[in-house]
């Protein structure tokens, strides 16, 4: 059972602002989709999980400095730029 409050909570965790009609629609859809997912309850617990298929362990390389991307090209895609830096939103309220 998924409530409207659950949908608001998830949206808040995912940082997506939702309108009331979106919440209503998503709630109904999520309920149906999650019910379908619950077939996995049948899967036995005593199976090892597979995180990635080739069982690679950590891949290391030498830490050698390389040319960075050109600053102008990197900043070109940002709307808020100041003194050659990205400008982000305020962290503190008020």
């Amino acid at each position: 059972m998924i409530t409207k409050e659950d949908v608001y909570h998830i949206a808040n965790l995912a940082k997506i602002e939702l309108k009331d009609d979106e919440v209503k629609k998503f709630r109904q859809e999520f309920e149906k989709i999650l019910e379908y997912f619950s077939i996995l309850d049948e899967v036995p617990e005593d199976v090892e999980p597979t995180y990635q298929v080739h069982n690679l362990s950590n891949v290391f390389r030498e830490d050698i400095p390389a040319e960075p991307l050109p600053r102008e090209e990197v900043l070109m895609n940002a709307k808020h730029v100041e003194d050659g830096y990205f400008k982000g939103p305020r962290i503190m309220e008020g």
Binding site: F26, E29, V43, Y51, N77, K79, K87, P89
Partner: protein, 459 residues
């Protein structure tokens, strides 16, 4: 459809510049909506270089269309999203570097479902891609533009990406060849991520040989992708009596099964040893796939904050308000749905019920493939369970997800699989999926080559 051989034959008597111009004329008049951004200026300049004998390499002078989730330096890369509608990558993906090194001409960026989340390209911010065989139907997804441009004579080669069937579905719906390589064969450096542990970039083409040629160029070592296996690929067709397994759990509706069984009875059984194989874990594969893909998406797409690139608001606000509004306005509905469901599946109290269970299913699916492929050289099944859908036909998200039932088990296991056209039903193409062992693309392509010859003979 235009093969490399046909294109090269024309290049013997015509200028590359004229052929590429002709291609752009066709694209600009086209109703397919296969491209989001064209690379006209650079493509024509490269064609001129080819005409002067300056463009060299394995794919010299050959037009290639690149899916719009693959980064191209200086050329807009949108991922089919409003979020990246104005994004210009400052670097090339590994596969794009390789195309340039081999003299290929990148003609443009192909339309796709937003962030590759879809089976029809209906979730693209830039509109649906239409099927070359019926404009009222979809071209498949998520690499719909890459499939349609090949089926509609708008390119010779194309790159797609496949997280749960996104190369094979449009290949099937557009009557072309498409391969999802073994996980780790092709570097993902520069592929805008959706679900890293599942996805691969792969080749799409108008015949098996061309598909193999493009794979030769894009496969291989790249230290910038830590999951890259460092394995090269060379196509060396082998001719032997392949042992073929038909997967009982992968089916389709009567249209699809009628054609599939016809090909099995008339082409495959007389030429190869055929056995039935059973994959009991597949009944859990679809929900497991969606849980893993959505969970990875919820983490991957956290990067879209309207600060460094992508959709942004005129005025900065507080942290939470700014991010939440940027993401509300920049993402489409399906992307929001998947991010939120993934967030839910990973949230406290649900991790064990959904995500961990899905990873256990992954083990079971992998074991089923390993068992079946110990005995068989290749496994076959219909690629899609239905013919190309009418635009708007699949309105409900869960109904849409279920159309990926035959393609997602492959990504869970990471094995390679190719879709090849096997004929038409009601004027629409049908595709067959050929699955092989890890890094045995050569076996799949060799088998596909034989099927292609027989199918052409039958048609």
């Amino acid at each position: 459809m235009i093969t490399i051989a046909e294109w090269r034959e024309r290049l013997e008597s015509e200028r590359c510049y004229d052929l590429i111009s002709e291609l752009f004329d066709r694209i600009e008049r086209s109703k397919l909506n296969a491209f989001i951004t064209l690379n006209k200026e650079e493509a024509l300049r490269l064609a001129e270089e080819y005409d002067k004998g300056k463009l060299k390499g394995k794919l010299a002078g050959i037009p290639v269309a690149v899916k719009d989730c693959i980064s191209t330096r200086g050329l807009r890369t949108t991922c089919g999203s409003k979020m990246l509608h104005n994004y210009i990558p400052p670097f090339d993906a590994h596969v794009v570097e390789r195309l340039r090194q081999e003299g290929a001409i990148i003609i443009g960026k192909t339309n796709m479902d937003e962030f590759a989340m879809g089976t029809t390209t209906e979730t693209s911010y830039f509109g649906v891609v239409r099927n070359p065989y019926d404009l009222e139907r979809v071209a498949g997804g998520s690499s719909g533009g890459s499939g349609a441009c090949l089926g509609g004579d708008e390119s010779v080669l194309a790159l797609g990406s496949d997280t749960g069937g996104s190369i094979r579905c449009p290949a099937s719906f557009c009557g072309v060849v498409g391969l999802k390589p073994t996980y780790g064969l092709v570097s993902r450096y520069g592929l805008i991520p959706y679900a890293n542990s599942l996805e691969q970039i792969g080749p799409m083409a108008c015949c098996v040989e061309d598909c193999a040629k493009l794979l030769e160029v894009i496969a291989g070592k790249d230290p910038r992708d830590s999951t890259n296996a460092g394995v090269e690929f060379r196509f060396n067709p082998v001719d032997r009596k392949f042992k073929v397994g038909i997967i009982g759990e992968m089916g389709g509706n009567d249209d699809v099964m009628g054609k599939f069984e016809e090909v099995v009875n008339e082409i495959i059984k007389p030429n190869f040893e055929v056995v039935e194989v059973s994959m009991p874990s597949f009944k859990y594969a679809l929900p497991a796939y969606y849980i893993i893909a959505m969970s990875e998406a919820s983490s991957n797409l956290a990067r879209y904050d309207g600060v460094r690139y992508g959709y942004a608001l005129d005025k900065l606000d507080t942290w939470t308000k700014y991010f939440s509004k940027v993401r509300a306005e920049g993402f489409g509905e399906e992307v929001k749905r998947r991010i939120m469901l993934g967030t839910y599946a990973l949230s406290a109290g649900y991790y064990g019920k959904y995500y961990l269970k899905a990873l256990k299913v992954r083990t079971l699916v992998k074991r089923d493939f390993e068992r079946a492929l110990k005995d068989c050289d290749v496994l076959i099944a219909p690629t899609m369970p239905a013919l190309p859908f009418k635009i708007g036909e699949l309105a409900d998200p869960l109904t849409m997800y279920k159309m990926d039932v035959n393609t997602v088990p492959i990504n869970l296991a990471g094995v390679p699989a190719l879709s090849i056209p096997i004929g038409f039903v009601k004027g629409l193409p049908v595709g067959m999926q050929i699955i092989g062992r890890y890094f045995e693309e050569n076996t799949i392509l060799s088998f596909a080559l034989k099927i292609e010859r027989e199918v052409k003979h039958e048609i």
